[in-house]
Symmetry: C2
Subunit: 637 residues, 2 copies
């Protein structure tokens, strides 16, 4: 293996300056670098390994940033980053993590957008091209020449991508859409379209119907999408083209990883597992909350498949991340459907299943449910279909800015007729899942799958024999009485008072419930310097879509203050509803009547955060025991 090229590449000009015979060696060096980076650091390695040659060819042929390349999802942009001045971040482990996992205009003029959700590249590229065309076209004054969208690796079947294809053809001017066809999505490919793509591959791109032609687009095929010379040739032919064209390239996802993996004994699940993380790095580590609780849920549902023909688990393309293992999927058979990366379809599909009497359970990330806001409201909640949604990765985390889970409550909690449950333990999670999938006497139910704070509390209790989890079954009448608030009609509408105190009541929603317990325990102890003990109540609200006003009113007897804790955006969220309830009740009293409950809300700010560790965010938002305790002590003084 020849080395030493990559370290001398600080911009695309250096790729152009190389002798063409050295391009394969550069690709090999990049591939080796990526594999090492993936093993040490993790990341979207599989998809990037497949795109090494295509990315080198793009920068060999086109003139970024005059020519603008938009990477769909931008999880295939590592090689692009290496070739645009950021190679050290992949070569030098001290610098790992100094560049983001997605394109980012703040990092480089060669990055067009911050992108992390699928299918939008063609629409964005249409916009870049539109401005160019308005300002004189390829030779005009816009500062944009060729516009290139790089899409594929499953994202082609995402709703907006089709809208983009359809509109690119209508627009009719220069645009080059590189379709990276690696025969895979995140897990497997799904959809009738992929059969036709297979026929295109088999025929060398000549078979009909050609879906790209069907959208009115010109088309070329490159069989060996990992042959850098063939790609350079193909891209050169379409540079400065006067109409939109699709370059369909056939690549091998994860190319270069197999030998290394095989030597280390890793034999399967490669493409799924290395989507996010090298499998070797994950071996032996305890499961994170997503997989832990996801596996719990699937294990709870699986025994019911035999006697409940209509019970179906639906996952739009990311089963592995959520504990829906390959083994489970195989055993589930027709009771499992992967819809590909199509969240919108998945929600409407689930509503149809429920309407016909089936029992759908739809699992995906909080951040991806955002795509379904309209379907959640119209096809689901307006129609009152009893669908269960499992919302993974919700809450404050160290995620990048495209995948934050902290926006879920403002979205889910403000849709009429939808119930958003916030379990505070694995037992509560399963009780809620049992209810929502066995009773059909409710509309849409979303369950916020417990996150790391709850898993940590449960593991600590298991280790040390503590009081957590406090959740006790689903039989006690007092905990399952129907709430009298708003549109609440679930057995979880009543708040659970788990510690009865005075002075201050701490309402800990979902993942923040362990923090509420911790704060109450701390406050119960009189501290140094004459700090007196406070006997706080602790409450598990169980859900965030209706208020238990009976509980809130009852709190007035012995409490002068209520504190709400949630690990999601405060603005538009849940704790504010508690505040507003008291304010409007109290505000209506005649002047002079001192009936006033004080409320403090703790939660996330309305902001995007990018890979800030969760612990830092908790501190930033005051969501730590010392900060909340200080606020309570100050106010009660």
């Amino acid at each position: 293996m020849v080395g030493g090229f990559l370290e001398h590449i600080s911009s695309p000009a250096d790729v152009k300056a190389l002798d063409s015979k050295n391009l394969p060696a550069l690709c090999q060096e990049i591939r080796t670098t990526l594999v090492r980076y993936g093993k040490l650091h993790g990341g979207h390695i599989g998809s990037n390994l497949g795109m090494v040659e295509a990315t080198v060819a793009l920068h060999r042929v086109f003139d970024s940033p005059l020519d603008k390349i938009v990477f769909d999802v931008s999880h295939q942009s590592y090689v692009h980053k290496m070739l645009t001045g950021r190679a050290p971040a992949y070569m030098d482990e001290r610098l790992f993590g100094t560049v983001t996992g997605f394109t980012n205009p703040e990092e480089s003029e060669h990055d067009m957008f911050v992108l992390g959700h699928t299918g939008t590249s063609i629409s964005l590229a249409c916009g870049l091209a539109k401005t160019r065309d308005l300002m004189g076209g390829l030779d005009g004054t816009s500062g944009t020449r060729n516009v290139i969208a790089v899409i594929g690796d499953g994202s082609l079947s995402s709703a907006i991508a089709f809208e983009g294809l359809n509109n690119a053809a209508e627009q009719g001017t220069n645009m080059i859409i590189v379709v990276n066809d690696n025969e895979m999505s995140i897990a497997e490919d799904f959809g009738g379209m992929y059969g036709q793509l297979a026929r295109l591959r088999a025929s060398g791109g000549t078979s009909q119907p050609n879906i790209f032609n069907a959208f009115g687009l010109d088309y070329r095929y490159v069989e060996d999408g990992n042959d850098v010379a063939a790609l350079v040739e193909a891209f050169s032919q379409v540079k400065d083209i006067d109409h939109p064209i699709v370059i369909h390239i056939h690549t091998a996802k994860g190319l270069g990883l197999d030998a290394e993996d095989a030597a280390a004994g890793v034999k399967e699940g490669r493409c799924e597992a290395n989507h996010w993380q090298d499998p070797l790095a994950a071996q032996g580590n305890p499961l994170g909350a997503r997989k832990h609780y996801g596996q719990l849920a699937m294990a709870r549902l699986e025994p019911r498949f035999a006697s409940e023909p209509g019970l179906v688990v639906i996952s739009p393309a990311t089963p592995g991340s959520n504990g829906i293992t390959r083994e489970f999927r195989e055993r589930a058979g027709v009771h499992y459907v992967d819809t590909g990366i199509t969240e919108e379809h998945a929600v409407a599909f689930a509503s149809g299943i429920a309407k016909a009497g089936g029992t759908p359970v739809l699992a995906t990330s909080a951040t991806f449910f955002q795509r379904t806001f309209d379907q959640l409201q119209q096809e689901l909640s307006l129609n009152g279909t009893p669908v269960t949604l499992l919302v993974f990765g919700a809450g404050i985390s160290g995620a990048d800015n495209t995948h934050s889970g902290a926006f879920d409550i403002p979205m889910f909690a403000n849709i009429p007729n939808l119930t958003y449950l916030t379990p505070t333990s694995g037992d509560a999670f399963l009780a809620m899942l049992d209810w929502s999938t066995t009773s059909h006497d409710h509309g849409a139910v979303a369950i916020r799958v417990p996150g790391e704070p709850i898993l940590a509390a449960e593991r600590a209790a298991a280790t040390h024999g503590g009081a957590y989890p406090r959740y006790r079954g689903g039989t006690a009448a007092e905990t399952h009485a129907k709430g009298d608030a708003g549109n609440a009609d679930t057995p979880f509408a009543r708040y659970r008072v788990t510690r009865q105190g005075t002075d201050v009541a701490i309402l800990g929603l979902g993942n923040m419930y362990p923090l509420a317990e911790r704060i109450a325990a701390d406050l119960a102890e009189s501290g140094d310097g004459g700090v007196s003990a406070i006997d706080a109540s602790v409450i598990d609200p169980q859900q965030c879509t209706s208020l238990d006003t009976a509980c809130l009113e009852a709190l007035r007897k012995r409490h002068s203050m209520v504190v709400t804790l949630e690990d999601a955006q405060l603005s538009g969220g849940w704790g504010e509803q508690v505040t507003v309830y008291y304010a409007n009740q109290d505000g209506l009293q005649p002047a002079g009547v001192d009936k006033h409950m004080r409320v403090l809300n703790f939660g996330a700010a309305k902001e995007f955060t990018d890979r800030v560790p969760a612990q830092d965010l908790y501190k930033r938002y005051g969501l730590t025991a010392p900060q909340v305790e200080q606020a309570i002590r100050s106010a009660l003084r």
Copy 2:
């Protein structure tokens, strides 16, 4: 013309019982009934006229409700309603309006879903079919046999429809997708796909590439989609089919309307205008707020096209409703883009235009912006692109339950980095439009186009010479000082105090600002029975995405109470932010310090409402002058 069939049809069985030679006469009678209904009552007449024969044929061949028909958007379901027991609601003008404009399971077992947004029918049908397949297939126990999705009239190019096509093929079992190809969308068709559809029509369905085949679907073509016998034959052939198939029917939108219109002198704009309303009924009436303010905005932008090449108006398929007239569009040329019914693409497209230095203005309804929630957050706000969104039809209205504009504030106001402006007059609206389209020093700006309450106030002031509108230009430094709150960086971040009083401050957001003025005027008068005058302040917040905390703090000096008014869902909305601000500020004071601002919030409940007149909703939510005044007087007593 033979009449008298329709009145004897009370269920699909009656359609089946007719002699087949009488079907054309039934269709003619339905068409005449529809035209009369449209002229007297309004509605989606054009699309329904094109679907008369297809709907009769569907109920002639299939056995609803065992066979399940899902009407996309369900704006083509009037004939279906006539044939399923609801004909009197279209024949007897005393009964007009007793059925909804969309399918509704509460009306009939033949209606599968409440639907009003485009493209979801195939996904919903996939769900119905999935449950059927899990429960034994066509002859099983599910209660579902054939599943039929009726789509078209422009909705085929909607994002989720493509996901549906792709997944229907994957599913592989019985499903009949009727594509109503009337060569039109709401305005014109857009997208490269439509060229291929035209070739399919020209070739009698034989040309390649066939986009439906490309998605892996079987396909048949019916050239005369208004020939009931041909349709009966086509549907009969595919009844109980064992795989998904597309029946592409070529229909004439508005068939039967032309002669009547021509006789009345209506010659153009037919298909757009009669999408919602018969053009004759609209003639001579003053424009509603949507068209009035939409035309104002377009007139403001148009003179700039000559000198600003990058200025572009984008409308996803419903220009006419928003005052973007055919004449404007023709004059605008390349400065206007209709993307078809593709809101998601439109938002990403706009972000791309802005990124490349253009100035996009994207106009659509509040209810349709819901589809773009993820693009608003990711492609727009996260990327900080200076795009202007014109949000039409926002706020409380008498709309049906699928098109409510009262959910806009919880959605827009909780997205980081997005500014949602709420003008209280036409002048303010144009000043905000000027700023957002001339300054690029901001991220996404959405402008809530003024609604009927503001138009009424402006018209009343014009007639009677009153004080409204109060908005004064964009020059006064005190009104345009930058706010110091949150992420506010707009010249409209500061609240405008338009009436300086004491005791109570009334904050009237957007459309509710005239109500705030009215209440203050009423309170200023001492009433009967010794009711004393109250000198209220009136405030125009101008926007709802950040708080002017300096203003809120200043109010403490002379006010003990703040009232917020908004014509949108309270839960997750704007007024609650004001409440929460005061509560958290006050809650942090040590016990015993009496620093407590009372707040009352008025706005819409978290609920779906269906064609309830706006005035009734205002009363329901306490948003009338007497109700607010009583609350204020009670509290201050």
